[in-house]
Symmetry: C2
Subunit: 367 residues, 2 copies
């Protein structure tokens, strides 16, 4: 693995849209007992369902610690590859590399990772093993790496259309805990150079109580060029109401990098999902404190789906809004099979299906 | 990765000779401070030289712990892949899988590993991480695995000609600490099924004071069908004298699987190599005891070389016998470049270049 000292833009590489052809997907086997209930038993089962659904149409590699390697190998089907890799938690979206392509080969971007806010408002300490993963994954796939480790960014905080446009949120990218010494313009420049985009659309915020400082991948996602889904509610008493309306307002007045108006599909959220006392009982403490409080609202959103080569793998919450959400996504991706996964056990960890996956774009095999 | 419940022989797979075309080579970055001097600093440098020499003509993958990953990545050239994998020590020959081929694809054999003798005369405890490696490496390369984990065997205790013949030693394969409940015939049957060989040539012993119970790969190696090199000494006062002569006697009266007489090339050993008090000082203790004693003889042999696609990577000991050994190997492998590596820092760990490498036979890329 070579470390490349230029930028993807300078070398003619760009981050493709998630619906472009994949080589495969990378995931991380869950383990930490302060993130995941009952020693992560339930989460592991849900992760296995997600991995298996994706593996129907692309190659899946799951990273597991040495300690969990045997369990991962036993629980996952044989067509999924399991490799040993240490991590602090299981958010492949946020610390696996962002891959860029020149149409033939791919390279990885190693962003800096500080657990969603470092010592300011990060979610756990330390995060050293997570922060080593992007480099290790580039090496694992024998792909060269752009070193952006001095710039803090999680993969879940950006979405691209593959045609020059990036969507992100101010709540996250301008947060205290990430790059406080960089101006908005400087941050934009990093995104332009790394993702090879010309236009950055800044939403103000994301999903209510989303502890990632409101990652864009929970509120808004491209479904094709100039078309997005937006997490939505019509309930004026829900704090999400103002947040989603603010996003709509911005999107309606924006154009993408190619000057196109953006079509917004409202993807209605489930009724507020809160964690139960029994679920909180199943979580270990962190720094001598409980990690969740009974009744705490979780950042549930159908926008947090994954686009596989042949499928849309989406979360279900056991809510009346499940079916309408499935129907909308199916209509937007008519050539892919929508596979719903009961995702409460993932949501309890603080994210959802998009957060625990990272696509690897197609590349020509050259060995 | 699928676990296959038949045997290579039943499926038409065989272990190829080491000189047949490789996909590449696997090695393990050294770390343990009771095996390797001064926290393994010197050994790491020697391993890097070996890996770099092999990487001139085939793809090398080096496994490193999370703790050593950064050092490995920094010390190894970029054309070598580094992957995280936990181990108890660094003997890829002995616990990486033995790969078998059907001419198109390869599969791995997962032998049982118990640190060269388990609780009888094993060299360290525990050996659980080593014993998981064959499985992990098959998975890493996306290759199916034959599970022979109930049969204890190290890769260094067998050599094959790829044409139906295996050479091994009684001292090792019939030792108390490996498969004490199996008869010699039963052990032969395991080798026949796993390696797909018809003839097993049993040498009585190997190199004097070789703590692996005298692995064959330190005393005798095929260099082409019906031709071997044999570690040799003419010094009648050396305990090696009787051992090497016994091997010669056996080889001269044997034929291979195809009925051919075996040509033996004597590869003279260096003068006895012993560990110094200063070197012993640099080794941590194990179970409250020193791991080596000053003056202890090390199992130095030129037979412990690795055949890469374009090179013979062989140990040098700073001995007058170095050059004649190089010349003999060069004459036996005229189309490969002989690359000598100063190997004392590897030898101190208890083995040599062949012991720290494991070839991966060529396979057709199919993705």
């Amino acid at each position: 693995m070579r470390v490349i000292n230029s930028t993807p833009k300078a070398d003619g590489y760009r981050m493709p849209a998630e619906w472009e052809q994949h080589y495969g997907c990378i995931m991380i086997f869950p383990e930490r007992s302060d993130s995941w209930q009952y020693g992560a038993y339930a989460a592991r089962k849900a992760f296995v369902k997600v991995a298996s659904a994706i593996a129907e149409s692309e190659k899946v590699t799951v990273c597991a610690s040495d300690k969990q390697y045997e369990n991962a190998r036993r629980m996952l089907p044989p067509n999924i590859r399991v490799v040993e890799m240490s991590s602090n938690d299981s958010w492949a979206r946020d610390y696996a590399p962002t891959f860029v392509t020149n149409g033939n080969d791919i390279r990885g971007i190693n962003w800096g990772f500080n657990a969603w806010g470092g010592l300011v408002d990060g979610l756990y300490f330390p995060w050293d093993k997570d922060n080593r993963m992007a480099r290790k994954i580039c090496d694992l796939f024998d792909k060269d790496m752009y070193d952006f480790s001095h710039f803090i960014l999680e993969g879940g905080s950006i979405h691209v259309d593959g045609e020059g446009t990036c969507i992100t949120t101010e709540a996250c990218l301008l947060s205290e805990g990430r790059n406080p010494n960089l101006s908005k313009t400087e941050i934009e420049n990093y995104l332009r150079e790394a993702l090879n985009v010309e236009k950055i659309i800044w939403l103000k915020n994301g999903i209510y109580n989303d502890e990632t400082n409101e990652h864009v991948d929970n509120i808004c996602a491209f479904v094709k060029p100039a078309e997005v889904v937006l997490a939505w509610t019509d309930d004026k008493n829900d704090p999400q109401y103002e947040m989603s309306h603010s996003c709509l307002e911005i999107l309606e007045h924006e154009t993408d990098a190619k000057g196109r108006k953006i079509t917004v599909h409202k993807l209605k959220c489930p009724s507020p999902v809160t964690i139960t006392a029994e679920e909180c009982e199943g979580l270990d403490t962190m720094d001598f404190e409980p990690t969740r409080t009974p009744g705490e609202r979780l950042a549930a959103s159908y926008v947090n789906f994954y686009i596989a080569n042949g499928a849309i793998v989406m979360p279900f919450f056991g809510d009346p809004a499940d079916e309408p959400a499935r129907e909308l996504l199916q209509s937007l991706f008519p050539e892919r099979k929508v596979i719903p996964i009961a995702a409460r056990d993932i949501l309890i960890g603080g994210g959802n299906i998009h957060c625990i996956t990272q696509q690897i774009p197609y590349f020509a095999q050259d060995r």
